[in-house]
Symmetry: C2
Subunit: 202 residues, 2 copies
Amino acid sequence: MATRGRPRGFDREAALARAMEVFWERGFDNASLGELTRAMGINSPSLYAAFGSKEGLFQEAMALYVKTAGGGIWEPVDSLPTARDAIAHVLYATARAFTGHGQSRGCMIVLASPQAQGSNPSISGELERHRRGNRECLEKRLRRAVEEGELPDTTDCHAVATFYSTVQHGMSIQARDGASREELLGVADCAMSAWESLTRPA
Amino acid sequence: MATRGRPRGFDREAALARAMEVFWERGFDNASLGELTRAMGINSPSLYAAFGSKEGLFQEAMALYVKTAGGGIWEPVDSLPTARDAIAHVLYATARAFTGHGQSRGCMIVLASPQAQGSNPSISGELERHRRGNRECLEKRLRRAVEEGELPDTTDCHAVATFYSTVQHGMSIQARDGASREELLGVADCAMSAWESLTRPA
DNA sequence: ATATTTATGTATTGATCAATACATAAATAA
DNA sequence: TTATTTATGTATTGATCAATACATAAATAT
């Protein structure tokens, strides 16, 4: 398939990365097209030609976020040797990720559109599905640990996963409110200090 | 001061309560004036005559929220006999409050305008100040507990307060995502199970 | 009674939003 | 070359937003 027509005059990936930063910092609704095109260095017709719509651009930005900025957090969950390692990794990686990108603090998935009845239900719905997926990822890992004997079969995997997922969500708000990396690492410490009592045989 | 002029034709407090529900459910930006006036049963000139502006209406709605829906959570912190009682109260009261108001789930203070660079910085700033105030309320209570001998003076009050504040914020996201009261009470259980290790003498 | 004051309903304002129309530019295909 | 295809820049579209203008209604003050 040869390239027909006038070639694109901008770097699609670079422009998408710029858009991700804007969505991350401002959320879906508050990121205006003017702001997006300015950050991407293009005009709106180019944006629509390349990404279809503001919603389409956000979808791709979200995928890029999951793959890059938010990526290192969840991938290792299944490969780390113990459930404890996995959950500790999620919390500490979160503390680092949420405080390491300049102005963009906190999780895009949590902060981009928190209203369930937001202006774009399809966006809110997809973000919610993603958050639920992360929680289920933790719960699955805990169940595997029970099967493998790491944890007693009295462990309430659902409750423990919900707890750590809640802490991880809360760290987004704290990061947005200016919490330092040290403070978020401290939150992870505190959360992990509950591990023994949460996984003690009944 | 006698009442001059045509009397107001609607119940100001009732209208404000309706507005609070809309802001709570939809956030500041996504709550349109049309939606607000429809819920309040008035036209926009009446809204502006009574509340000044959308921002003014939100300020009053936020004050009402703090006094009513979110009120029982923080007031008892200073009067409860121990810091442990106080923090447990905050968490369990939060679990109940965030799941008991029909469609409005989660904390208005956390969810109404999460973007630090939102469309209305003054609103975002005030909400952030309020969240910080809640965290400081916990920290102050913990310091008092250290002074009174309830907790060892090795207790890291700042870290512990930040941790429980983070859990409380995270519960807003979980509630918005549909977590049940039982699940949030379970989160509170898990968080409190860290208490012993967090306050153990070094 | 008349004047004054405040509230209401209808209609509208300018601003901003996401999305496009249209003419032109820049590439390949024949 | 000429035709075709795709991208770009300028300008604009209709929709929606928060906020008001204006005439009228309903109360008190004198």
